[in-house]
């Protein structure tokens, strides 16, 4: 069958009205209420895996990275299995950047961890975040509009959100893509350090959906 014939058939189908079953559940709401690039990053207060309260305001003057994670997500696995995420954490925390890994998976969903499990994950995968924030109710996730794991945010020394989105420009679960991908987080941090504008301030994150609670 030729393309023309197919288009023709498709045109006829218009009058027949292809039935589209649209199903979904849950509430429609704005995905991203608080976080806007080049605007002040929303202030938050969250408990980390060592029981300490972490606020954004405490890190004024420092670059802050927020990294949404889920230890069962294959896209997270791409960046931890390859050592990519850990090496970024080590490199930048070594330069004074505050790296906050956030877990917004609700209890009973993939990636949910309690404090002890979060610390065990950090140890077993050789991760080096400044802290792991536990967000089982999804408050921090919804505040920033985190949709995927990994979903990355970079906040500059004045508390402005200067990057949000994907970790890099190759949306795949294949670790062999990392070597030739452009890392947006690296580009954002390097731009801040060089006193330049972040060239790509927003991208679409790729990965697993954040496993939020349904209530």
């Amino acid at each position: 069958m030729t393309m023309t014939a197919m288009t023709f058939r498709a045109m006829r189908a218009l009058s027949i009205a292809a039935v589209l079953a649209v199903y979904a559940s849950g509430v429609l709401e704005a995905a991203n209420p608080g976080a806007r690039v080049n605007a002040p990053a929303p202030e938050f207060s969250a408990t980390d895996s060592n029981g300490k309260t972490q606020t954004l305001g405490a890190y004024k003057g420092k670059i802050v990275v927020l990294e949404w994670t889920n230890n069962g997500c294959p896209f997270v696995g791409k960046h931890y299995g390859s050592g990519n995420m850990q090496s970024l954490q080590k490199k930048y925390t070594g330069q004074g950047v505050v790296w906050l890994t956030v877990v917004s998976s609700a209890p009973g969903t993939q990636g949910y961890v309690n404090a002890e499990e979060a610390n065990r994950d950090t140890k077993t995968r050789g991760a080096a975040p400044s802290a792991v924030l536990l967000d089982p109710k999804g408050a921090l996730g919804h505040l920033y509009g985190a949709q995927a794991t990994p979903h990355m945010y970079v906040i500059d020394t004045e508390g402005r959100l200067v990057y949000m989105g994907a970790i890099d420009d190759i949306p795949s679960a294949d670790p062999s893509d990392i070597a030739h991908a452009k890392n947006y987080v690296v580009a954002a941090i390097d731009a801040i350090k060089a006193g330049q504008r972040v060239g790509v301030p927003a991208t679409k994150a790729y990965g697993c959906s954040v496993k939020y609670a349904y209530n």
């Binding site: 393309m3 704005a30 896209f75 679960a173 679409k204 959906s209 496993k211």
Partner: protein
């Protein structure tokens, strides 16, 4: 994927002698292949395609994990004709509760990808995507296919194709999600005789193609335009096309995943001659966008039946004035839960 995955390290056609068929300026005698050769070609494919398992898949899939997606590839015709296009279908059948993704996977997920391995001169067109379903998990929207999907692609054989058989390879990669997501991929092969006469329909596959085409959105038989401001994207369509609907509801599913906030309500305003659909733009939308391509879903309020139209709206100019009351809206779709 899990049980049946293989990932090809390098399947460039020039590396595969079985597929190295014709080089311009180096005329080759046309060999007479037999059906034995077809199986040889297929066997070569399987040999070439078996060596490595993807590390990602190893990491997530237990050896006894259930098959989440079964993949196969079928041709509409039992022969292919030189100088013509023929249709192939990559059919994915999902385990109940699982889905794979549309070209725009939504806020997360990953579009199914097909990488073709074709003899020199043969070409594959773009995937013809059926209308997807929209999934909402709180604020995260996905577009995809539960149950089954057939992705159609036209493959063209050059008029000068020197062989009497062809092996067409497709490495299909997908992300299957239920509550969790598991990536998978598989290499599929179709081997067919090639001739100079009109290709004959393969009756065994007629149903797959008929079903797939019923789900392919037709092109909109009207012109659409769009405009953008700081907060929103507005799509204008002729009001006349909604004539038969008492309370029309419009929804837009963009092909590009980075343009709109998929979870935001979409509102329709009726003007004199136009219906205008307003979408909340995302932080990643490009002001200089010239075309906005996607599916326009048209339905009557309260009705389950909907029409999906393939719309390519052209830029009507970027408006400097912000919209008045842009999102004072109801959710556009009456979310009818099947789950």
């Amino acid at each position: 994927m899990i049980a049946s995955t293989c990932t090809i390290v390098d399947m460039a056609p020039h590396r595969n002698p079985m597929l190295q068929s014709y080089r311009p300026g180096n005329p080759m005698p046309r060999p007479r292949h037999t059906s034995t050769v077809i199986s040889l070609i297929a066997a070569a494919f399987i040999l070439v395609s078996s060596p490595s398992m993807s590390r990602t898949e190893d990491a997530v899939a237990a050896p006894d994990a259930p098959v989440l997606v079964r993949a196969r590839m079928v041709a509409e015709t039992s022969t292919l004709q030189r100088g013509k296009s023929s249709w192939l279908a990559v059919q994915l059948t999902m385990r109940p509760g699982w889905h794979t993704y549309w070209r725009n996977p939504g806020d997360a997920g990953m579009a199914t990808q097909v990488k073709w391995t074709l003899p020199e001169g043969a070409t594959a067109g773009p995937i013809v995507w059926p209308v997807p379903q929209r999934f909402v998990a709180r604020t995260i929207v996905g577009f995809g296919y539960p149950d089954e999907v057939s992705l159609l692609t036209a493959v063209r054989i050059p008029a000068t194709f020197p062989f009497d058989n062809i092996a067409i390879g497709a490495t299909v990669s997908w992300l299957a999600c239920e509550k969790v997501c598991v990536p998978g991929s598989e290499t599929l092969v179709v081997a067919l005789p090639v001739g100079d006469t009109a290709a004959t329909i393969d009756p065994r596959n007629a149903k797959v193609f008929a079903q797939a085409r019923r789900r392919v959105p037709p092109r909109a038989p009207f012109k659409a335009t769009f405009s953008m401001d700081a907060e929103a994207i507005h799509i204008q369509i002729p009001r006349a096309i909604l004539g038969g609907l008492a309370k029309p509801e419009l929804t837009f599913y963009p092909f590009d995943s980075s343009i709109i906030d998929h979870a935001a309500a979409q509102s329709t305003v009726m003007r004199d001659r136009q219906a205008e659909l307003t979408l909340r733009r995302s932080a990643t939308a490009n002001d200089r966008m010239k075309r906005l391509d996607g599916l326009l879903i048209v339905k009557n309020t309260g009705s389950q039946a909907a029409r999906a139209l393939d719309v390519s709206a052209s830029a009507a100019g970027v408006s400097a004035t912000p919209p008045s009351a842009p999102f004072k809206t109801r959710p556009l779709i009456q979310e009818n839960s099947r789950r």
